[in-house]
Every structure is written in C-alpha cells, then in structure tokens.
Symmetry: C2
Subunit: 560 residues, 2 copies
C-alpha cells in the first residue's frame, strides 16, 4: 500500500498541485467548477482501494494500522494536500459514523463513503463563532418521524460543494431547542447534500445552499465554502447517537484529524527542504569568505555557511516533527490494539498529550521551514515558477485550522498537562527518560541527553507552577503563556526524537559502516544542530512560564 | 509635504494596492500592460512635486532632509509598495547621476527624472549571478565616439519595461574588456530605453529587449523583468565617471536604498499591526478561561492573552524597527549637513553599522509581524478578502532583495563591525550607553537598562572573538554564525529604541497626565514586553557566537 500510495501521489496528485492553485474553484451558474485532474485523482484513489484502508475487514476495509494509513496519507499530502483533503475528510466522516451511527445509518451513509461513491465534510464553525463552538446557533428541530429540521449557517467548510462524487455527507453540529446551554447542548447530525431513498438511491436535493466561496492564500485546490442549511425550511438531518453528545463525538475524531494536520505540515516542510537542498547542491554562486580570487569558479551555494544553516534548520525541524507524528500514530495503534491494558492506558495518555503538539508545533515550525526554503532559493524562490512559495502559502493554513495554534496551546497546558494530576505528562516523560538512560554509554550523545534531562526538570517545574496558579483560581495567569509551553514541550519532544534518531544512526554506522552512511551522518549532524542551535531557544520560554509572566494581561485594550 | 504624502497615499496609492496584486503586469503584443491606476498614481506623485523632494534647490528640488523624505516615502510604502517602487527607483537613479554623472549627462538624463518625465532602474543582477556581482558577464565595448556598446542579460529588474513615462533610464553594471577581474572591473553605464537626441528629445529604441516577466509571490504590482541588452548589437550606453568605479558608485546609493527597504518592511508590518489590532477590538469570540457561563456574551478577542501576545509582539517589533530606521535616516542627514566634522564622522560610522541592520532585521522581523497579523484574524486572515495575507506576501520580498539577509549579516559582522578596529560599533554603542546612563533615576526602566548593558558587553566580547578568528585567517569560522550576530545586534539596538521611547512616554505622562495617555501607556507596556519576551531570545545567539560554533561548517554537502 505504501508503494501504491507513492505511485498515486506521483502520477495522480502531484501533477495538478500547481494547477489547483492557479485554476481556483469557481462558481459557474451556481456550480463549483474544479480542474478535471481533481476528479481523476479522486477516482484513481478509489480505484486503487484507498477509501477503506483502515476500516474493519467486515466492512470491506483493509484494517491497516493507523501508522501505516498515516504514511499513505503523508505521501498524498506531500504531493497535493488540497486534493488529498477531499478524501481525508470523507474518511473522517466514515470513521465517525463507524463509531456512533446506527446500523441503518451506516448502511445508508457510511458504506458508500467506504466505497468511494460519496464524499463528506465536517461542519463545525459558523461565521460568528469560528473557534467557539459554545456559541454556534445552528438549530435542529425534531420532526414527528424522529428526524430533524436543520437551519443555520456554516463557515470554512472544506469540500462543501462540488460534483466529485454522487453525494456529499455533511456532519453538522447543531443545537436541539431546550437542550443545555453551551457545548453541552451540541448534537451531531448527518445532513446529506442529496437525500437517500429507502432503497439507498441518491434522491432530491436537501436544502443545503452554497452561499459563497472563500478565496484563500493557499490550499486553493480544495474548495472552501460558506453553506446555508434550511433557508427554505426543508433541510432534513438525522441525529447521530443520543442528543447533546455532539462535541464528545466530534472529539473522538480529533486526535487523528489533528495528527493528520500535523503530518500535512511536516510533509510540506519536507518537500520544501528536499527542493531547496537539491537546488543548493546545483546552484553555483559566490565564494567562501577566504576565497578572494575572482577567477576561481563560484561554489555551489550549499558550501555557504548560512545556506547550510537554513538547510540544517529545515532538516531538524521537519524530520524531527515527522518522527514525533509517527510516534503519536503508533500510540493510536497501541491504544486500539495492544493486548496489555496498562499499555493501552499509557498509550492513550501519551496520545492525549502529543496530539496538540503534533498539530500546533509541526504547523508552526514546518511553515517556518518553508520560509527558509524560499530564502535558500533567493529571488527564484520568490517566483511562482518554483514550488517553495506555494508550499509556504499552503502550509500557512495549518496553524489556523483544526483548532488554531493558540487554542492548541491552551488545550495542552490547561487540559492535557493538568488532567489526572499530570498523568499524561508523566507517561510521556517516562519514555523520554528511558531514551536518556540509554545514551549513558555514548560520549557524543550524553551531553545532549544531559541538556534534555535538565529541560525535562524545568518542564515539570513550570507545569507545577501553572497547576498551583490554577489551584488558586487564577486560570488566566496560569494560561497566559500557554504558547510558550507549546514551544517548550514541543522542542523538548522533538529533541527526544533526535536523540532516538541519532542512537539508531550511530548504531547503524558501527554495524554496517558503508551502508547509507550519508543518511546516518546527516542524522547525527542534524541531532547536534538541534541541540546546539534550536533547543536552547526555549530556555527563555521556561523562564516566562516559571515567572508566571503577566505582560499580556496587564496591557489595556485601548493602549495598543 | 508629510500631509501631502499622506493624502497622496490615501487617495492615489492605497486604492489600487489590491488591484495591482490581482491584475498582475502582463505582456500584450510585447507591451507591458498595467492597471490604469498605476499611471494615475505616478502622475499624481509628479504633479504634487514629489520627484525632487531631496534634490538641491539649484536643480529644482525641495532640498528636504533625508529623514523627512523617508517619512514621505514611508506613507507611500504603507499604502502601495509596488507603485511606490517605480518612483523610488527613479529617485535612486537621479541621486546616483547627481553624484557621479557629467553635467551633460545630468542635463540629458537626470533633469527629466527630477521632473518626473522619465523613470529608471538599477540593473545589477544577472541570471547566473544573483548576489555575486564579481561574476557578472555583461560587457561594454568602447566605441570610437567615447560611448559603449553594451551586451548582456540582467535579471530581477523592477520597473524594467512599461509605458508609465517617456523613457526609462537603466543604470547598468558591466565590464569593459581588459579591466581588472572581479568587482574591481565593474563600471556603471547609463542605458536609456529610448535614445536621447542632442536636443534632449526622446528618440528611437536602444536595443534593450524585454525577454520575460517574473511572476512573484507578492509585490506583484511592480513589473519585474528579465532584460537582454544588445542582442542586435545596437545597445549604446554612456559610462558614468571613470571606468571600473561601478561598484563604489552603486554602493554610494546603498545606504539609502537599504534603509528604504527596511522602511518598506516596517510600514507593511505597521499596516498589519494596525489592521489586526482594530479587528481584535471588534471581533467577539470565546470567553476567558475562568468564564464558564456559556450564556455570558463572548468577549472581544483582544481580551485573550494569546491575542494580546501576538499584538504586543507585532507592536514591539514594528514600532521598534521604525524608530531605528528613523535614527539611521537622521545619521544620513548629519553625515551630509552637520557643521561639526567629528559629528559627521561619527554619523557616518553609525550609519555604516546601522544600514544592514535596518534592512535585514526589519525585513525579517516585520515579515514575522505580518505572520502574527494573519494569525490574529484566523480563518479570515487566510482569505484574500482581508489585507493581511497580501502584506505578508509583499513583505516576504524584503529579506531577499537589495542584498539578501544572509549577505547583510556577513556585511555587518565581517565588514562593518570589523572596519577601523571596530570604530562603527564603538560609535553606536556609545550612544546606547548614553541612554542607559540616563535611566539611572528611573526605577521602572533601570532593570531593562541593566539587561541591555550586560548584552552590550556580550556583543563586544563576541565581536572580539570574531575579530580574533579573522586575525587567525579563519574567516569562515568567524562568519559562520553571522546571522546570529545580526539578530543579536538588531535586538539590542531595537531594545535601545524601546528604552528611548519609554523615557519619552514616561516623561510625557508625568508632564501632561491626560494627554495621549493611551499612546504613552502603550509604549511603556511594549517596552516591558520587548525586554521580557523578545530580547532574551538572542542570549542564545551570543552563546553560539562566543563559542564559534562550527555546526554548519562540519556538515558535508552529501549528508543533508
């Protein structure tokens, strides 16, 4: 499947990545027009059997572990995140229905998703309430037959309208009148674009109106829509599971969705790194500071220290984030399938902690990596004739969607690191410390391990400081520097992946000296670079957290 | 003039900023087509008397100090950097001709530039030699009449072809055969797009062919061209001054050009800050961590700590960079006009040091500020319906052009900080220390002053370490972390501007408590934020420099 995904990515997804950016989705007579290649890629994906990769064999799926599924996704995301988006959304809808929908709903809506006949969306945000689901105002009025009449507006809906499939299954968060206020009153509804008849056939339209397209900075290939449900009073939805469980149900999908966003950021970072590295090896310009003879030939720019800095930084950010995302994916698999209950519990704890880090840290720092790729190419990197500027624009969405990075940081410090008296952090740091102990005999890695060990101690201290402030009822102060906590923990965990990568590479170089020696030497150099150049940046974040710095809280809104 | 510039910016430049992005310059039958509004803005600028703002009264100029000229430019750059670009380039050409061209050349070429009849370009880069002027291959063969026959290719030429003016005066760097190798053999030539007759009339074309347009990520409103000179053997140029002085002549303009780039970056940063601040005051979403009642109204997002962090960081980066750019501009004026010879000398030294910092630091950190503006707006910021994404794209050019940031860093550490045994750094740090001494009586500012004072000591140490390595002949190692030196010195100098701003605001709040109190409180809070959140980031850069870290040099090109 990995080879098949690579071929699909190369042959069907990559070739129209740029086309999707230039020929943006547009409205023609009320219909969304996309480049033909998008449809061809969606069909090729379906025909190659990718729609049910992770689903149970009983449902016609391949029952692959999530870590393998994610590696398939990763190749499509690297090639064309926009077109991949249609398919990953459909899988998310199918998974959610698999977990909570009734057998009849599964037959009607999920099976066609797994077969690739339908696509789907997640309809959470509203124009007045982007990240604040407590304030959504979409309503679901019960009908006598047990179904619901849906009315409201949903914003930022990727894949919200198109003709790539027979139907689009919208999963819509809405409130049933009379329910509890805030997020506890949110329910989840299946709202198909076209109604499904009792025979399973695709029927008439369901009063879901495309009210507009959003025109984005990047990821233009996936249509982003503003949808109005039930303007004519005739939008029918089906409740999924019991009422008022919508948020919990949606969060069931969040770990995988957020790891997927993080992986998308990583793959764009990796694509930019690979391109700028290859460019720097070919492009000749300038000389070394001590080469004064203008008759000497210009050197490949990879010889310049500052170009190397920009390449090494990209490498250590994106390859480190990749390793962390894959580790998180393995926790998903262990949580689902480990025969050992305590290992399942620990995997679940680690996954809870890792999810916001994989999403937010990767999104931020892999977009930064794309910025460096542009800089390596110089003027050429600033033109649309080269791919690095589009990677940068595409990646810039990742710190915003699926819960903005600021919200992820609050989730990490305020919930994940605090829950169960810090059990998730303990579970994760225990694994990191196993790695540190394993470096004791390695003279080259021990200094880095000592640095990381000291930083873990600081993480525990600042977590305790935040916990104490929460205990005093001062959640605002405790969370004021949550973004610093994200960088601090993220850098520490990515540093841990570099120690692990260095251990593997050091052992491989000893075992079979010639084999892949460039790869392994590169890993060792990148580990060194991360510990010398990158990790020390977050010492200051720890200082701010330890001091419960209140700079942001003291500023009056009128004084900006 | 400042009011006139503000009106011009508002009425003639801002309205077509977005249009220039969408209706990119395009070729129609070999002609460059631009939106009509660009031409109207260029004419309005000319008619308002801006073409000769800084020129001598004897040449019909207003003889304004550079710092006033820069503040006029700044308003146009904030409104529409692309359209302003045509005009700033023309002024640069006029200034260069004013310094080095013969009286006859000045009459023929410079006077029409000052009158706004001509525009101009700087033709330095070539496709195979972007930043490496030693390797340019454009040739200038002497003709019997003393003029030269030019042949070669020039890349990245902004404003290289259009019909906004009667003529375009290209200033072209080229080599006269038989001259010294490398940069010492470069001469400067006037190459008009249309030849000028003896009567000063605009005549026939001059064998300058538009070979292509570059399609950029941002700043799309100013046409960027690939030009071929003398393909038909009939491109005639005039030498400016003596042969082989081209690089020195061009560098005569560099201080102002680079301060102009830095100011452009600042103004885009400022525009993004203002927009995201106003948005954050209006947009209501979410609640504080301790506000659990979902029936309470959502708060303006400026109440959220992380939004304030993003606003405060923008404010301290862009307003700090603005203050530094204006200080540099005043050194230009003192260098030109101070009656005191030693003050002129010191101003020149400070200007030499500041120029690469104003260019590179502003370009990097004000683009980062634009990234934060996008994040404040969230999904809306990612759409092209809001201005912040275009500001980010436009600003991304600034770390690349006019000498890339990596080259500025090498210039700063390798030349400016080293020359005359460090005289420029001494001249600048002496001024900073005067400010530190003046805070002795201020309890609120003294801790920040002490922090900055300690950092100045570190700057002197790491500069000495680099000097010693240079002295040992190890320029590669000395300059390996030049980008860290740029961040270190830039942050220190911007911290200095914040101390100065805070001193002014503290005094004003005491003197006239009610007046502009929000402005002054905001300045004090931003100063605090800079010293608590931003300045400590560069301690690590000092560590790398002090250790002469060789991570980048040790990496083998094949191992990336």
């Amino acid at each position: 499947m990995l080879d098949a995904a690579a071929r699909l990515a190369r042959e069907r997804f990559a070739p129209h990545w740029k086309i999707g950016d230039v020929e943006e989705p547009r409205l023609v007579d009320g219909r969304v027009v996309l480049p033909a290649a998008v449809r061809e890629a969606v069909h090729a994906y379906r025909d190659a059997g990718f729609c049910a990769l992770g689903a149970d064999a009983a449902d016609g799926g391949l029952q692959l572990p999530y870590s393998v599924v994610l590696l398939c996704d990763a190749q499509l995301l690297a090639a064309n995140a926009s077109t991949a988006g249609y398919l990953l959304l459909a899988r998310g809808v199918a998974n959610l229905l698999g977990a909570f929908a009734s057998p009849a709903q599964q037959a009607r809506y999920r099976q066609p998703l797994l077969e690739g006949r339908f696509l789907g969306t997640m309809c959470l945000s509203e124009p007045q309430a982007g990240s604040s689901l407590a304030d959504i105002s979409t309503r679901a009025e019960p009908m006598v037959d047990g179904r619901y009449r849906i009315s409201g507006q949903k914003m930022w809906i990727s894949g919200g309208e198109h003709e790539l499939a027979e139907n689009i299954i919208h999963l819509v968060l809405a409130k049933i009148p009379g329910g509890p206020p805030g997020v506890r009153g949110i329910s989840l509804f299946i709202v198909p674009r076209q109604r499904i008849g009792d025979d399973g056939g695709v029927g008439a339209g369901n009063d879901v109106r495309l009210a507009g397209l959003n025109h984005k900075l990047g990821q233009r290939g996936i249509v982003n829509t503003f949808l109005k449900f039930g303007e004519a009073g005739d939008c029918i939805g089906e409740l999924v599971g019991p009422p008022h469980q919508g948020l919990a149900q949606m969060f069931h999908m969040m770990n995988e969705a957020r790891i997927g966003v993080g992986m998308g950021a990583v793959m764009m970072g990796l694509a930019g790194y690979a391109y700028s590295r290859d460019y720097a090896r070919e492009r000749r310009q300038g000389r070394q500071p001590d080469q004064k003879d203008p008759a000497s030939p210009p050197v490949p720019i990879i010889e310049h220290a500052d170009v190397r800095r920009m390449l090494l930084r990209q490498k250590c950010l994106v390859e480190g984030a990749l390793a962390l995302a894959m580790y998180a994916a393995r926790q998903v698999d262990q949580l689902a399938a480990s025969p050992d209950a305590s290992e399942r519990e620990n995997a679940g704890l680690r996954l809870d902690l890792l999810t916001p880090v994989v999403k937010a840290w990767s999104a931020r720092w892999c977009t930064e990596a794309n910025d460096l790729a542009i800089q390596v190419l110089g003027g050429y990197g600033y033109t649309r004739e080269y791919p690095v500027e589009q990677l940068w624009r595409d990646n810039r969405l990742n710190p915003i969607h699926e819960g903005s990075n600021g919200i992820q940081a609050i989730d990490l410090l305020g919930r994940k690191a605090m829950a169960q008296d810090g059990a998730a952090l303990r579970a994760m740091l225990a694994v990191v410390r196993e790695t540190l102990a394993a470096t004791a005999a390695d003279d080259a890695l021990r200094p880095h391990a000592d640095t990381l060990g000291a930083l873990l101690g600081r993480i525990e201290i600042v977590t305790g400081v935040a916990r104490a402030a929460m205990g005093r009822g001062d959640a605002r102060l405790a969370l004021a520097n949550a973004s610093s906590y994200m960088d601090l923990l993220g850098h520490a965990l990515v540093g841990w992946t570099w120690l692990r990568q260095a251990q593997v590479s050091a052992a491989a170089l000893k075992r079979t000296p010639g084999r892949d020696a460039d790869l392994h030497r590169g890993k060792l150099a990148a580990c060194d670079f991360f510990f010398r150049h990158e990790l020390p940046r977050v010492g200051h974040d720890a200082d701010l957290l330890e001091a419960l710095d209140d700079s942001t809280l003291r500023m009056a809104p009128g004084d900006f």
